[in-house]
Amino acid sequence: MSAIVLILALALSQFLLVLAMGCALYRMVRGPRAQDRVLGLDAFYVAGMLLLLTLGIRSGFTLYFEMALVIALLGFVSTAALAKFLMRGEVIE
């Protein structure tokens, strides 16, 4: 019983997260200006990180947690660097 509940909930939540990644990808491809694309990338990596966490629950490996942590770290650095680039035209001054 609890196995059925968990498997159904995991499938549903992975489906919803992939839909969220699709919405973010639409904004990233379509976005009228550069800041919209950066915002789409930000939402995209957050949804990808959550998808890795659900994959970790599904398979039982805690290794996926480290992957999600690396994605969160690199996503923060990349969004901050892109915002800096949009503001000043260069990343490191």
């Binding site: 839909l19 699709g22 919405c23 800041q35 919209d36 957050v46 990180m49 966490l53 949009l86 503001m87």
Partner: protein, 116 residues
């Protein structure tokens, strides 16, 4: 899939509810990212995914691994603290960059924004 069956039913129900809640809220934020009109409205939408979306899924992961390994597994707190601290910083940097770009193009601040 045998390790799912060993869990008590109420733990499975709580984990399932938190997983579906978190992913549905993340999807709501992404739909808002698609449907809002201007950039300054859109910048608010994905924060749904980084607050309650990430929070609910991380709490679900903590509860699940604590019961499977029968010891407290709390290292997901790292991700949640990190995401909560960094999201406002990046989005404020991004909104400020967009503000400067809009002002540099038109000479005026965007409508509804105060002059700096």
């Amino acid at each position: 899939m045998s390790r799912f069956g060993e869990l008590p039913l109420w733990v499975a129900l709580v984990v399932a509810f938190l997983l579906v809640l978190g992913s549905a809220i993340t999807l709501l934020g992404a739909i808002g990212l698609v449907r809002f009109e201007t950039f300054y409205q859109r910048v608010h939408a994905p924060t749904l995914g980084t607050t309650w979306g990430a929070g609910a899924i991380l709490i679900a992961s903590m509860i699940f691994f604590s019961f499977v390994q029968s010891r407290p597994v709390l290292h997901e707190i790292l991700i949640s603290v990190f995401v909560i601290v960094t999201t406002p910083v990046t989005l404020m940097l991004l909104a400020r960059a967009a503000f400067y770009r809009d002002r540099a193009e038109s000479g005026n601040p965007p409508p509804g924004m105060p002059k700096l």
